[in-house]
């Protein structure tokens, strides 16, 4: 068979989502961001929200999310995305407003903004990428870094007596009256990707329906920061990260 014989519309089972830009990303090969971007681009298209969505990008590896998904975007200061999203949605209440944040952004410098936006029950969706490390700045300790994990600022491993404990901020958000849906997912297998997509879809729909704040944590890999191959990172995540950050719904009302 020649390539021309194979490349036919009826044989196509996989395509670039229409709203995911056809350009190289700056993400490392094997990074979870690409998969989550794809899910979001697919969902915005499938839910018919292209003309009705405003994304809020973080500071961190996903700072350029606005270059990859073809909707309106505001690039927030580090940690401030939930505050930015609060005003965007209150002033434009019929739009889907979502934030896309990493663990340093959401669970360290932006802890106050995260908790208070969720506590007010802002009708936004928060997509939280937890890879346990600061990727963009070169692999420093994050609030979610596991004990014993080596990073640029914990070169001998994270110690509870020096650095405190890995923060399960999603568990902090679940009991708040303002949240309606809090879940923890991953994208390391096709089955996990399908579940994560269903979770983000529910979060988007909750925001549109005015049901309160939805938080979707995606336990993710950072193979560059973890200094492992992409395949090894997925194994290591399942082995170690899921113990501290178990997958599943924490709240679904």
């Amino acid at each position: 068979m020649t390539p021309e014989e194979i490349i036919k519309p009826e044989n196509k089972v996989y395509a670039r989502p229409r709203l995911l830009d056809d350009r190289n990303t700056h993400y490392c090969p094997g990074c979870s961001h690409g998969v989550v971007h794809r899910i979001i681009a697919e969902l915005i298209d499938e839910m018919g929200l292209e003309d009705n969505t405003i994304g809020v990008a973080p500071v961190g590896c996903a700072v350029f999310a606005y270059n990859y998904i073809d909707v309106d975007w505001v690039e927030a200061a580090h940690g401030r995305a939930p505050a930015v999203a609060t005003a965007l949605h209150r002033l434009n209440p019929d739009r889907l407003v979502f934030t896309y944040q990493g663990d340093g952004d959401l669970a360290a410098i932006g802890t106050a903004e995260t908790i208070h936006a969720a506590n007010r029950g802002e009708n936004i969706a928060i997509i939280f990428i937890n890879n346990g490390i600061y990727g963009m700045t070169g692999g420093q300790m994050a609030p979610t870094t596991l004990l014993g994990m080596k990073t640029a600022t914990t070169p001998y491993g994270r110690r509870a007596d020096l650095n405190g404990y890995p923060l399960r901020i999603t568990e902090l958000l679940a009991p708040l009256d303002g949240t309606c849906y809090v879940t923890r997912q991953a994208v390391h297998t096709p089955a996990a990707v399908r579940k994560a997509k269903a979770a983000i879809k529910k979060a988007f729909q909750n925001a549109l329906d005015g049901r309160g704040t939805s938080v979707v944590e995606i336990v993710s890999t950072c193979n560059s920061g973890w200094k492992m191959s992409p395949a090894k990172s997925n194994e290591w995540m399942a082995e170690h990260m899921f113990e501290r950050y178990p997958l599943g719904d924490l709240k679904n009302i």
């Binding site: 292209e50 009705n52 309106d72 401030r80 930015v84 999203a85 005003a87």
Partner: protein, 355 residues
């Protein structure tokens, strides 16, 4: 009504879309008045008490991104917290209004009036090369009027404006004529006025992105050049000031905000005693009335700058005069306010030839 209350009423009447604030003395009446008026039921204005000044200014950033007319208010320590967001708003070329009703510092300082944030307001405040349009009200009437003026300038130049009031103007009560009600802009009007706004694509066909990030240095320099060109146009077109008794003045006082009114009383007393003193009151602290002060420096024998600080605006006055005449400073700090006699005594002390 109080100056702070006038700001709240003027904001509702101007058709402001959103206010985001955090309580701090001596400006809490802005938020309190807005909550009491419940404008969400009348004009649709959003009013939100944020969890911090940091959150409030980032809410302003988010709201301004979507082309809405949004504002915040605070007092000195709170405005320090807002500086990160103000820098982002300036860098993203967004219109917004920030009100600082100044109290004494540094640190937690005092809740009494001050003008010690002049440097912070006029020289940037946050990181990077930027300026705010800084309006200095001296009356409750100007507190009301400068809300509309601040927004008009902010949208005209796509840059944040600040009302830099001292605690006296915020707290004192005077008669005020409030501006007429005007409706908030519709989505269609915002899309037409702000084609850059992140309103969601809404059939626009292309995405809008609000960001201050540019990793390509030549492009970032180009962005900075564009900012500076905007600031040059503002300096060319938007200098505002008031002169009193300057036609025949031999000495000039320069003062802003409520202190200008204290100086005016001192000048009237001086004139009654045959001393020819005039006053220049900058209304825009940035852009500063440099040319006007330079022109006056060729006519008077000397100047006295009176401020509620240790000497801040005096630096801009001295730059304007280029050493042509002596420029002295009289300042009170920590919430202390001079009376007209003290001001006049300071003038006589600095210029001993005055009898």
């Amino acid at each position: 009504m109080k100056g702070n209350e006038a700001i709240a009423h003027a904001a509702i009447r101007y058709g402001v879309d959103g206010y985001f604030g955090y309580p701090i003395t001596p400006q809490s009446e802005v938020l309190e008045t807005l909550e009491d008026e419940q404008p969400w039921d009348t004009t649709g204005m959003v009013v939100l008490q944020a969890e911090s000044e940091v959150a409030a200014i980032n809410m302003v950033y988010g709201g301004a991104s979507s082309g809405k007319a949004v504002m915040t208010s605070s007092s000195s320590p709170g405005v320090s917290l807002k500086q990160e967001g103000i820098s982002y708003i300036a860098a993203a070329e967004l219109p917004a209004l920030i009100v600082n009703v100044m109290r004494g510092g540094p640190g937690l300082g005092t809740i009494q009036p001050s003008q010690a944030d002049y440097f912070q307001a006029t020289k940037g405040g946050g990181h990077g090369d930027y300026h705010l349009i800084v309006l200095s009200p001296a009356t409750v009437q100007e507190m009301a009027d400068f809300v509309g003026l601040g927004f008009d300038l902010a949208f005209k130049y796509r840059t944040p404006a600040m009302i830099l009031a001292d605690g006296i103007v915020g707290q004192m009560m005077e008669k005020v004529v409030l501006p007429p009600f005007r409706p908030r802009r519709t989505d269609a009007e915002i899309a037409a006025q702000c084609p850059w706004a992140t309103t969601a694509k809404r059939g626009r066909g292309h995405r809008n992105i609000v960001t201050s990030l540019e990793m390509d240095s030549p492009k970032m320099e180009e962005n900075n050049r564009r900012f500076q060109e905007t600031y040059a146009r503002i300096q060319e077109n938007e200098v505002r000031f008031q002169e009193y008794y300057t036609e025949d003045a031999e000495y000039l006082m320069v003062a802003f905000g409520s202190v200008a009114r204290i100086c005016l009383k001192a000048i009237e007393d001086a004139r009654a005693a045959g001393i020819k003193v005039g006053l220049l009151r900058p209304i825009t602290l940035w852009p500063f009335p440099t040319k006007e002060i330079a022109a006056l420096s060729r006519r008077v024998k000397g100047m006295l700058v009176v401020e509620l600080n240790a000497g801040q605006m005096i630096e801009d006055v001295r730059l304007a005069t280029e050493g042509r005449v002596p420029v002295y400073h009289f300042g009170r700090m920590g919430g202390m306010i001079p009376n007209p006699d003290e001001v006049l005594d300071a003038l006589k002390k600095d210029f001993p030839e005055i009898k």
